[in-house]
Amino acid sequence: MPSHMVEPRPALSGHRVSWELIAQVFAGPVDASAMGALWDGQYSRRLLLLKILRESLSGPAEAGNRRTLDEAWHILVEAEKHAPDVVRQILLYPSVGTWLVRAIRRIRGIVHDDVPIWVDMGYLSSIAVAAAVRAGIDVRTTAPVWHGRLNLPTVGQFEVAEDDSTRVVRLWAKDSTVFLESGDEIWNSVAVRSIPVRVHHSTAGGHTMRWTLDDTDPYRKFDSVSPPERLGSADLESWRRKLDRAWEILVEDHGDYVAEMLAADPVIVPMTQGGGFVASSSSASFGAICVAKPETPAAMAETVLHEIQHSKLNALLDLVPLQRPGPDRLCYAPWRRDPRPLGGLLHGIYAFAGVTEYWYRRWCSQPRPGDRTAAFHFVHHQNQVREALRALGPADELTEVGTRLLEVASARLDACDASQVSTDIRELAAALSVESRLAWRMQHLEPAADKVAQLAVHWCAGESFPDRAVQSTLRPFHRSDAGSALAGLLVARALDPDGQAIASEARSGEREFVDRGGAEAMPAFADRVREDPDDDGGWIGLLLSMTVHGGDEPPPPEVVSATYRRIATIGGTPPDPVTLVEWFSHR
């Protein structure tokens, strides 16, 4: 029997997940014991993927990578004998999870990029050396250097070369010190070139949070291998202050989340990317949060709480499915401009239920009616989740556990009473919800051409609107983004009712709608669509102006606009857009 083959043992049973744990997760904050159960699930997942990775390298072409993995495996086995908790901690470090999934995907050809595959496979050596250093065992091995750095997860990085070179180094971990071989048996300590992992502690209300700020690990981001982007001292200090204040907010107003926050042991990955990016989490990296520095401590607190909800649900999903096997349909998610798979929608429903409660509590804890920010975010997110639940409707694809998630989310929203929020904020939030839905429909739904043609014939014949709904088909991104500034203007007005709502790119009708209401803005939007029947932003504004404050559901914008264009084609004279909308609305 070859050395890597082993005598098989009986199969193990699966994790037993109590309904009590499921109920606790769905209800929001969980205790340390529940987090412990989720971490246990993550550890099983990591070990299983590690086993699969090792078994995946079986062909002759993979012999080199196989030897590297075997050598690293043996070091990990030794380290575990000396310090099992240390090995568990390293294997559970978020970037190790990202690396593990990536490594298997690379072997299976699911991921391709220009990082040499031996760098990815050799990373298990880096993990093993980190374990050896922390367990205090003596090992000599090799490890990959990428972008001039040797990275040891949870330990830090060593600057091995001043350039961005990629190569293999021979190293010796002895007495928890790392030496690199610079010639035959000539070993130099690399301690002087050490770039340690940054840890920051925030204390509030007697609770001390340990934040890891990871700005160097190559696998810290979720979708690519990334060179280090070490924060400068001023930037680092700014992050620390925001985290301190965010922790104070969480402890003061959200004390029931403290246990899970502490147990999550969060790893914050500072991001600089723009394009509207706020933050992200990943199913591969329990506890990690990639985040563009929020403007305010309250936003930082919200982001941390939000992303930890995703982490918890990801961990639960590794234990129990919310969906039955089958295709994942695309849905409307009010917090996104793109259609989302059902699984993503469930994530959003869960996380935004928590965010709604976050802002609700913040609003309740502030002097009223002073904190418009909290009031607006509370009502806006409550509307979003309610709309997502309504749009989803009955979902036969869900398991009993998945159905329970929706029931609990709905009850959590109902427990947040918005009746005392000022009318103008509720109206602006309602308008924002309608605008978001109309813009999504316009960009991603396409009505059947024959049905649109029939509607045009009815109109041209002077008949009343046929009382039959036209079903539109989902065709993601079949039209460009409407490019409307309405959403931004509505948010600005909600947050600062006396200020000048700023949007340099605002087009005709948009500012009028926000400043003076739908009746004043309607003529401008109507002029826009008369001038350009493909002006989707004009159609959205027109429908919003004609319906939002009356409480009517606007007719489907993709059907109205397509019918308008069809009538213009067959009848020669375009109809009056306002009259056409009224026709659709049975007025």
Binding site: P8, A11, R16, W19, H306, L317, D318, L319, P321
Partner: protein
């Protein structure tokens, strides 16, 4: 597919928390492909991204 029992759901994910790395290669995991598919098949669905 997880199985619902009295007060518990039996997960597809094998409980490896008490398995040492030395023993791990020998452990039989019949459900591995289900867990693996969920972990690696849909890279675009790994992340939950918040946007403005």
């Amino acid at each position: 597919m997880a199985e619902v029992l009295d007060g518990y759901v039996e997960s597809d994910l094998p409980d490896l928390t008490h398995v040492s790395l030395a023993d791990l290669p020998a452990v039989l995991v019949p459900q591995a492909s289900t867990v693996l598919d969920r972990a690696i098949e849909h890279p675009a669905q790994d992340q939950q991204v918040q946007q403005n």
